[in-house]
Symmetry: C2
Subunit: 401 residues, 2 copies
């Protein structure tokens, strides 16, 4: 029997994600041409190893003798872990976040999935500044919602006017991701305060819901040039953050993250309960027990992110050499680049350019997947020698484009 029509359509949409396809094709290309010949910038798979504290916490957990340590716990997670995450969220947000406002999840993707299950009414709209992570589309659509990408300003800063214009009686949430994947942009406190004002004003008008502000924050700690990611809880009551340790601790395959509900939210206890219930009925049940304990022990440590800065600069120099323009990333580990004008006859789209790059053994993700045609994304969480190899390959590719 065939699969369901809906998923068959989703699997062939631009948001089916060329990223994963590139990642998987990259594995095949590396087998064929050798690991060193292929420059894989496709996936945000941190190549930094977790810091030694994570290894130590893993070994400590592995030798811990404690009955039931791999068993079920209440859906929102272990109390100790939630206490630790509440401390982390309080530090980041500058307000005291109680442990009851934390729901442990199988990563940030799971966190968003649970949040949207908890808050989206049928046909409810989720406004998101574009470019943005492609799977946001599905995270909203899975629960009957609809993602409304709204272009950011030309420099990828938050276009509050555009968001405001997109608000409607169907708006359930505004989703932001700062530092942004793929642009690397960090929204400023000023922009966020203006956004909060717009949401409050909208919510006060009869017939509208007060929108939730949902912040996807896995890159919060990866910032450059002394920048900081602003706190949100003080700016807007109905705020939920979703995050993970995928990038912070370089453990994306372990699927561990959490939701934090602003203590100022008008129905925070109910929202947290609904998120935990969503985690159960969506089949997550709970975040993996072992890594709940690991992050409770090791959440304060960080890998040395300075190499991301080094690589960012190296890749920017390679792009300069190839004549490719880009947005200078303020955080995260992606370079969002403009597809150069095509000089040869043929398709000049970002998809075609990424195919062209692939023929030159450079794997990137097309901007269309991020709701931003004409651009492409390079994930630079890769070894420096990959960037070195890409230097000539990018130049050659642009010359032949």
């Amino acid at each position: 029997m065939p699969i369901a029509k809906g998923i068959a359509e989703a699997m062939t949409s631009p948001q089916a994600s060329a990223i994963r396809k590139m990642f998987e094709e990259g594995i095949a290309l590396k087998k064929k041409y050798g690991e060193d010949a292929v420059c894989d910038f496709s996936l945000g798979n941190p190549d930094l190893e977790p810091p030694p504290e994570v290894d130590r916490a893993i070994r400590a957990q592995a030798s811990l003798v404690q009955k039931g340590k791999h068993g079920y716990m209440p859906n929102p997670g272990y109390r100790d872990t939630r206490v630790a995450m509440a401390e982390k969220a309080s530090l980041e947000q500058g307000v005291a976040v109680p442990p009851d406002n934390i729901v442990m999840t199988c990563g940030a993707a799971a966190a968003l999935s649970c949040v949207f299950k908890a808050i989206l009414e049928p046909q409810g709209e989720v406004i998101v500044p574009a470019p943005c992570f492609p799977d946001y589309y599905h995270y909203a659509a899975n629960h009957g919602g609809r993602l409304i990408p709204v272009p950011a300003r030309a420099d990828f800063s938050l276009d509050v006017d555009a968001v405001q214009k997109a608000l409607s009686p169907k708006t359930c949430a505004v989703l932001i991701n700062s530092p942004n994947n793929p642009s690397g942009k960090i929204y400023t406190t000023g922009e966020l305060a203006a956004l909060a004002g717009a949401l409050t004003e909208h919510g006060n008008r009869p017939g509208n819901r007060v929108p939730y502000l949902v912040a996807d924050e896995p890159y919060r700690d990866i910032v450059y040039d002394g920048r900081e990611v602003p706190a949100l809880f003080g700016l807007y009551g109905e705020t939920l953050t979703a995050t993970s340790f995928a990038k912070n601790l370089s453990i994306p395959g372990e699927r561990i993250g959490y939701i934090a509900v602003n203590p100022a939210a008008s129905q925070g206890a109910q929202v947290a309960a609904a998120c935990a219930f969503a985690a159960r009925i969506l089949g997550f049940v709970n975040a993996p027990a072992f890594f709940q304990r690991v992050v409770a022990a090791a959440w304060k440590c960080r890998p040395d992110f300075s190499s991301y800065r080094t690589r960012r600069d190296a890749l920017m120099s390679a792009l300069d050499g190839a004549g490719i323009t880009y947005a200078v990333p303020e955080g995260a580990f992606y370079l969002f680049c403009k597809v150069p004008p095509r000089t040869q006859p043929g398709d000049s789209s970002d998809g075609a350019f990424c195919e062209h790059l692939r023929a030159n053994l450079v794997l990137c993700a097309p901007g269309s997947s991020f709701f931003c045609p004409g651009w492409f994304r390079m994930a630079y969480c890769v070894p420096e020698k990959t960037i070195d190899t890409a230097r000539d390959a990018l130049k050659r590719a642009v010359e032949r484009w």
Copy 2:
């Protein structure tokens, strides 16, 4: 802002699950009255520790030095793990299952969630023999489907005629769970062959889909009195199994399981791809990396399940002593019991009886949650002293009922 109406309703439905509520109230009651005073039969949280091979595999993984071992891998999981699970599925099903037909998941609940996302058309019906696990309701409803519980026979064996009558042009799948939670029933090859015949016949009629047979098999290895759980892949082509190591290896909190697609399925490769895609877009992304490696190393071992048999018999004797009748479990670790006739004035429902038991510090789950009013479930994966303590408590409770 309030949560979505849909989830608010789901949270107050009978399938919101009295089980988890009881589990969480149990934690509170134990704090109040002491661990030993409360007889908690609420949750299928195995009290057997994982076998030593699992501990060894965890320690080996903890000291393994391998770059990227906590990183992303392709959504369906590590190749090595899929090869191991394919070997397991082949042994169980008696046909050669290729690794490409395995999708690693965050447990069996996740496996079912991904399967339903992959195969359910809007309003698509999932027929399931009742009693059954309450959350099946949500696993179907989350993806626009509808669970159709069809009562099993009086002895909880499969009522193929009843299933056949429930089949409709909207039927997308028949879901079975054998050994059954809560009844402990194992469906026989004869019953399953008759079911396969009915599904084939239905699928051959114009206007109907060929239904998928989805088998939720986390209890496959927990059987009594020399029984075996029959293979399914040889009986019916369009079969998918969902399973986990929650009960097999006593690691339910770690969220590790898989989907196996019958190699005889007409569009098996597409189904496996859709399940992996569903895992991605639902926010699971992949099964936890660490435990993927652990189960690849330790899948052949088992805890000593003989104590489940001992406890089953002890609890049956306690129930006999209290005058409560039940179905003798052939597998799994639940006793499904009939609510005794009420001799005092008042509500005589299974919900009221479970409240009455709770007042006597015995925690059980009402049958209504399992689509089977008039019954209640006792999970006997608990220490033997809990069963000893329950002996008097049950007797006392029935006398006062």
